[in-house]
Symmetry: C2
Subunit: 504 residues, 2 copies
Amino acid sequence: MLNRVRSAVAHLVSSGGTSSQRPKSPDLPNATSAPPAAAETPKSPPARPGSEVGAPPKTAETRTSFSRPTFLQLSPGGLRRADDHAGRAVQSPPDTGRRLPWSTGYAEVINAGKSRHNEDQACCEVVCVESRSSVTGASRESIRNQGLCFHYWGLFDGHAGGGAAEMASRLLHRHIREQLKDLVEILQDPLPPPLCLPSTPGTPSFSDPSHLVSPQSCWSPQKEVTHESLVVGAIENAFQLMDEQMARERRGHQVEGGCCALVVVYLLGKMYVANAGDSRAIIIRNGDIIPMSREFTPETERQRLQLLGFLKPELLGSEFTHLEFPRRIQPKELGQRMLYRDQNMTGWAYKKIELEDLRFPLVCGEGKKARVMATIGVTRGLGDHNLKVCSSTLPIKPFLSCFPEVRVYDLTQYEHCPDDVLVLGTDGLWDVTNDREVAATVDRVLSTYEPNDPSRYTALAQALVLGARGTPRDRGWRLPNNKLGSGDDISVFVIPLGGPGSYS
Amino acid sequence: MLNRVRSAVAHLVSSGGTSSQRPKSPDLPNATSAPPAAAETPKSPPARPGSEVGAPPKTAETRTSFSRPTFLQLSPGGLRRADDHAGRAVQSPPDTGRRLPWSTGYAEVINAGKSRHNEDQACCEVVCVESRSSVTGASRESIRNQGLCFHYWGLFDGHAGGGAAEMASRLLHRHIREQLKDLVEILQDPLPPPLCLPSTPGTPSFSDPSHLVSPQSCWSPQKEVTHESLVVGAIENAFQLMDEQMARERRGHQVEGGCCALVVVYLLGKMYVANAGDSRAIIIRNGDIIPMSREFTPETERQRLQLLGFLKPELLGSEFTHLEFPRRIQPKELGQRMLYRDQNMTGWAYKKIELEDLRFPLVCGEGKKARVMATIGVTRGLGDHNLKVCSSTLPIKPFLSCFPEVRVYDLTQYEHCPDDVLVLGTDGLWDVTNDREVAATVDRVLSTYEPNDPSRYTALAQALVLGARGTPRDRGWRLPNNKLGSGDDISVFVIPLGGPGSYS
C-alpha cells in the first residue's frame, strides 16, 4: 500500500501544484517490544458481550525488526532475502512439510524500495471456537469433530508503517472467534436464531422461552434473522473491536499506521469474504469471474465522506470544504461559476465560487491519486488512529470506516472442479492486473499441473505475483508488454474451492 | 400511495400492538386557491444560478376540488367517473385528437376507497429550453429545430394528501428547464464542458478562456466531466429546488403531504430516468427486462437513516433509537440480550438490552409495513415538510431525501423494435405485479396489435392497470388467481422506444 498516505496538503494548498511527497513509513515495533498480538486482553464495550480475545501465548516471541507470516517458515537468511528491495524474490511457503489448509497457495514480494519493509501481512489458520456455555475442558478434537472450527485467510495491506497490519494479522481471527463463541449452539441448531437470549452468556439459550414471545406482543411480524447474518454480524463486530483495540494500544505497542483487511472465513459450508480497503477477492469458477469484494476508496465512497463532512463541519476544520470540484480553484476565479458535486449528487452542476470554495476539497483527485483530505487514498481499514492532515491537528480517522463489506458464497450450491479458485490479492496485484488477466493465468498455470498435485496453487500464486511484479529493466520493474510492473508490495492467496484436500 | 404514512407511533409505543390507523388525506387546495403551479417565482439559493421557474400562465385556472392530468381531457362527467371509488374506471387519454408524444400510452385508476381522491398525478410534455445567453426573441420553432427541447414524463404518487403530487406535476419540469438553461450551448458543443464559466450567466462561455486553465496550476489532472453528468446534475438540482419551493409555499397553497416522483427526460438521444420514492421504471427490450430504477424505502435505506440518527441524535428526540431490533423489546427483557443491527452492519449480533433500547426503533417493520419513525413507508420524494411523528413535534423530513437516483439509457446504442417499451408505474402496479408479469403482458397485448397502430401503447397501459386492479368480488378487488388486487391508486406510462412516431 504505497502512495496511499500522503502528507502533502500544506504543500498543495500553498502552491497549487502536484506534490511528490511520499508517506513516511516508521519501523515496526522492534524486537524488544512485547508482541502486540496477545500482550493485553482487549476490553470489550460494556454492552456487547464476547469480545475478549484469547489468552496470550505461553512464551513471548522473539521478533526481528520486521516480520513475515509464520507459515512462510523463513530462516534468518530467508528473512533477509525477503527484505531485499533489489532482488525482490518471490516468497512462498516451503514445498516440504505441512501445507496450508486446503492446499492453499500463497506468494508475496516486497516493494521496489518505496518503504523500508514489506508492509503487507498475511494469516492462514484453522480456528476452533469453544462455546462460552460448553463444559469446560472439552477437547479441541471433540470441538473439531462437531464442526465448530472455521478456516481463515487474511491479507493485511499496511500503510504508513507495518504495525497495524502485523497486529491485525495476529489478532483479527481471535476477535472473530470471540464473537462466534456465543453462537456455537445457535449456528448448529436448524431452528431460526432466538431473537432474545438470557442475560448470562453461560446459560444455554434453548431452555429459555424468551425467544418464543407471542406474535401478539410484537409491533410487526418478527423479522427473520438467518444464521448467515449472525456470522456476518460477528465478523463486522470483530473488525470494529480490532480497530478499538488498536486505538487503545497504539502508544504502548507503537501500532503506527493503518491497514486494509481482506478476510475469508469458511464456516459451515459458506465462505464469508469481508473486505475493508482496496484489496480484492474474485472467484474463478469454470472460467467465469465472480467478484467477491469491491474497493473502498475516496472515489467509491465520495458521497459517504461528503455527507459526514456536511453533517459534521467541525471535522473539516477551516481548511476543507465538503464540496467536490473538478480541479483546484484559483483565488482570482472568485465570483465565477465552477462545476461542483454535493454529497447528494452523482451529476455535476455549476455554482458561483464563494470564499469558502477556495478551501481544499475533502475528496480530490482521480483513480490511484484520489485522496481524503489530500492525505489517504483508502477509506476503510484498521488503525490510522494517529493520522493527521499534514501541518494540522485535524484527525482523518473520523472519515475512515473500519467496517468491512461481507459477501457470502455458498460452497454447497455448486459442484467445484480442481481449477475453481478464490483469489485474494492486495492492490499491488490489481494495480497492474485485471480480473480477466488473472483468470487467464489461472487457466494457463493450473492446466500445466495434474489436478491432484497440491503444489499447483502455490505455483499459481507465484505466477500471479511474478506477473504483477515484472522483471528489473532500466530503472523500473517491467512487464513483458513494457508497461511498468507494480513497485508495491504484492501478496496473493489462491484458495482452491474443489481441489484435493479441500475443506480438510 | 396508501398506507405509506401512518400516524401510529403513540398507539404502538403504548400498546406494542399493530396499528390499523390510516393516513388522513386532506383535500387538495380548493378551487379558490391560486394555482400553485406558477403563482410564485421560486427563490433560488444564492449560490446556484438559474433556478427561476418560468412566468405564471396568463390566465388563472379554475380547478375543481381535485384534478386529473390535463392530457386526459376529462369532461366534468368524466372527472366524476374518475373519482368514483366504487366503479374504479380505468382512465386513458381519448383515442381521438392529439396523441401524447411518441404515442405514449397512459392509464390510471383511483384507489378502492382508501383516500378521498386519487393522489397520483402525471405529466407528459415537450419542453423547450431557451438559453439564458441566447438572443431574446428567438422563436420556439427555431429552438425546436436546434434540438433544444426535451421530452418529459412524470409520475407523482402522493401521500397524506394530493397537494404535493399536483404541484410537482405542474412544476418539476419547469425547474428542470431552468437548470438546463445555462447548459444549452455547452450540451451542443462536442468539446468537454468547461470547468469554469464567467460570472454573468448571459455572457457566452466560449469566448472566455477561464476553462482553459493550464494543467500546471491544478492539484491533479482535471477530472473529466461529461455532458451526461451535467444533465444528471441539472435533474438532481431541479428536484431539490422543487422541494424547497414546496417548503416555502406549503402554507399559502396548502401543499400538504408529499409525493414520490419518477421522471423521465429524453434529451439528445438519451433517456434520463430519475426516481425518488417507490415507483418503478423498467425497460422491456426484445423480451429482456432492464431495471431503470430502484425503490427507496426504510428497508433499502436503513443504513443511511440509521447513520443520520447516529450522527444527529437530536433528530430522534427521546422517543427513538437509531438501532434496529427484529421485534419490539418488552421492559421486562431489560438486561437480556437481543439481536440488533447498527448503522454500519448488514449482519445481526446480540447486545445486552439497556434502558435506551426500549425506545422505538427509527426503522421498523418489513416489506410494505416498514416505517421510518413508525410513520412513513417511503424515504425519498418531494414535500412532507409538515410531517411529524404522531403526538409529537418531532419532524420526519430530515430523514427523507428529495434527491433522485438518475439512471441513463442511451437510445442510440440499440436498434429498437416497436415492441420495446419503457414502463413507468406507481407502487399500486408493482405491489401486485412483478417485472416478469409486466413483460408477459407487454408481449401478449402488443402482439394483438399491428406494429404501426399507435393505440397499442395505451391499450397496453390499460391492460397493466386492469391486471393490477382486479375486478370487484366479495369485498375486495380480486385478480384471476383470487389474490387481492391493488386497492391503491395505480398510474402507468408506456413509452415506446422504437415505435411509430417515436422521438417526434
